[in-house]
């Protein structure tokens, strides 16, 4: 069975990015700990950065710095990398904001486990 090993090897970046994306999504949705949810979110974002940068990659090409001495050369596409810089900044600000909210939640409830917070809230509702 020659299920094109080459196809998998050549696209390993994309496959890896998708696997990471799903791992991150699973963590965000299922983990009760808020900090781990934020970590999951960061994994999702990293997956996309990997995906985006892979789009711009060209086999055997160099960074796009024009050097007149070497003559004609292949360059990788620098645009995705530049966009990912913006993406990283955005990801950091989301993370920082989420962490500061978590600090406030810890101050209000005394825990950052979602199931315990739900218990506290249901007790408050009954009163």
């Amino acid at each position: 069975m020659n299920l094109n090993i080459d196809l998998i090897v050549n696209n390993i970046n994309y496959i890896g990015a998708m696997i990471l994306f799903v791992i991150g999504l699973y963590t965000v949705l299922t983990h009760p700990n808020l900090i781990k949810k934020v970590i999951g979110l960061n994994i999702m974002e990293t997956a996309i950065f990997l995906f985006f940068v892979s789009i711009g990659y060209v086999q055997g090409a160099v960074a796009p710095i024009v050097n007149p001495e070497t003559g004609e050369q292949m360059f990788v596409n620098p645009l995705p990398s530049a966009m990912i810089l913006t993406g990283i900044v955005v990801a950091i600000s989301i993370t920082a904001f989420a962490l500061s909210l978590i600090v406030k939640i810890h101050a209000a409830y005394g825990t950052i486990e979602l199931d315990e917070i739900m218990k506290i809230r249901s007790v408050e509702l009954d009163d």
Binding site: F21, K37, I48, I55, T86, I94, F97, L101, K104, I105
Partner: protein
């Protein structure tokens, strides 16, 4: 031609003022309020002038730094984006006029400057999203909007508000990450970020990459669907919109959600194009979720006793109407959807503001304890009633006109069975809204009031929003003409 730069002037004005607000040292007071409204007034004049320029001239694209040919970031200023900007600024002026008094009892006085900073940043990103013609730029504005819109909820600093905003932040972040994944897939196929260039490119090659485009649109629609709160992805909305301070609820329901919906319309009709949208079957999926949203949102709303939660669930149903129009994939459907974007913005703001006044005045959030409230606060309940009649679709309100256009679009699009869903949803709306109005006006019980009177500024701004809804109901053509002019360019770029 100075009018060429108007969209950027509006953005710079809002951004600049947002940066200046934290520098204020004096305690929050009248001088700041005057300053704030003069800035907003200037923005209003600019937006109005721009709308006139676009209507009497033509739609144009603005390139930053004159980098032509899709290298630089581009703004597309057409009839609808100019109209939408005007609506955003008009409504935010009215809501902020309401907020000055209302916020005093909802957030700490030391946070007032921070609140207005966030609101101005939020307006900046909404207007940016409306104008932009570049998908990565759209993503950056989306992230700016999602952070600021969470922050204007979390600023209340109560226990349940914190949890609601955490939920909103996580769901919103998943949404924007998913959207970015979709953009990456589109960039992979086309190699462009500019929407017009993507449209040109993708229409030549789409038959070779149907799976890639379907996947990309799946990611994008799911991502924006989370943020626009379409039915199975709506679960953050009721918590977030109901626990937020009243002006924030009105801003979130009236404007923020609409910015995401408009982005979806852009992606479907301007980036991918009508032909591909129909051919790869996106519109059928959207119709299913729209119908589910319309029915389930209303059913959930029926069981709520908290007035703001009831309004929040009703937003889910109303977003379903907009998606119904978008999912038809016809020009009439798109115009009906865009009309409902504006008409719902007015109605839901009127409802949230009047509900906020009821809570401010009586300290009571339960819909079952509102007997006889219409005699105590006639103006508030009149505005509330206008909103309710609009939601049900009684002639003379903007809600009727949007249902009328939607009905015509549904018949035109060959889905007469959807007309039944529209009627059913209107009936459900009547079922959960009318009892509030009836008990407010027809039953009389002595009420104890939480406060002695309602500030004038709250009454006036509320009344103007309600009046706006009625005016749109009587003169829908002034908005519909602009939308129709915009839709023809929107679809056939």
């Amino acid at each position: 031609m100075i009018s060429y730069h108007f969209p950027v002037f509006i953005l710079m004005l809002l951004l600049g003022f947002a940066v200046v607000i934290p520098l204020h040292r004096k305690p929050f007071g009248k001088s700041f309020v005057v300053k704030m409204f003069s800035v907003l007034g200037l923005a209003f004049i600019l937006a109005f002038a721009e709308l006139l320029v676009v209507i009497y001239g033509e739609a144009y694209s603005y390139t930053f730094g004159s980098y032509q040919g899709g290298i630089g970031i581009e703004f597309l200023v057409d009839e609808f984006s100019a109209l939408m900007t005007l609506v955003v600024i008009t409504l935010s002026i009215l809501i902020l006029a309401y907020s000055v008094k209302d916020l005093e009892h909802e957030i700490a006085s030391s946070k007032m400057y921070s609140y207005y900073t966030l609101v101005f940043l939020m307006l900046f990103s909404i207007i940016g999203m409306i104008f932009t013609n570049d998908i990565f730029n759209l993503y950056v504005f989306v992230e700016a909007l999602s952070i600021t819109s969470v922050a204007i909820i979390a600023i209340k600093n109560k226990k349940d508000t914190l949890m609601a905003s955490m939920k909103y932040l996580l769901m919103g972040a998943i949404g924007s990450v998913t959207v970015l994944m979709g953009f990456a897939l589109i960039y992979m196929v086309t190699g462009h970020l500019n929407m017009s260039l993507i449209f040109a490119e993708i229409n030549e090659v789409w038959e070779q990459y149907p799976i890639n485009i379907l996947l990309a649109m799946g990611f994008i629609l799911t991502g924006f669907g989370i943020k626009a709160a379409i039915f199975p992805l709506h679960n953050w909305l009721p918590d977030a919109h109901s626990s937020a301070p009243t002006p924030s609820s009105a801003l979130l329901s009236g404007l923020v959600v609409k910015a995401y919906v408009f982005s979806i319309a852009k992606m479907m009709y301007r980036v991918i194009g009508q032909e591909i949208t129909i051919n790869i079957g996106i519109s059928d999926y959207i119709l299913v979720f729209a119908v589910l949203s319309m029915v389930m949102g209303s059913l959930f709303a029926l069981s709520q006793t908290d007035i703001k939660r009831r309004l929040a669930y009703s937003s889910v149903a109303q977003i379903g109407y907009i998606f119904l129009g978008l999912g038809l994939g016809t020009e009439l459907g798109l115009s009906a959807a865009l009309f409902h974007v504006i008409s719902h913005a007015f109605m839901k703001s009127a409802l949230f503001l009047s509900a906020g006044s009821i809570i401010y005045y009586t300290g009571n959030r339960n819909v079952r304890k509102m007997d006889g409230i219409g005699y105590k606060m006639p103006i508030t309940m009149a505005v509330f009633t206008i909103g309710v009649l609009g939601m049900i679709g009684i002639p003379g309100t903007s809600g009727f006109m949007s249902k009328w256009y939607l009905g015509l679009a549904v018949l035109d699009g060959g889905h007469p069975e959807l007309l039944i869903v529209i009627l059913l949803s209107s009936f459900l709306n009547a079922l959960y809204y009318l009892p509030v109005v009836v008990s407010a006006f027809l039953r009389e019980t002595p009420l104890e009031m939480h406060r002695s009177s309602l500030p004038q500024s709250m009454k006036i701004s509320m009344a103007v929003v309600g009046l706006g809804s009625v005016v749109i109901g009587f003169y829908p053509s002034m908005i519909m003409n602009i939308i129709e002019a915009a839709v023809s360019t929107f679809i056939g770029i």
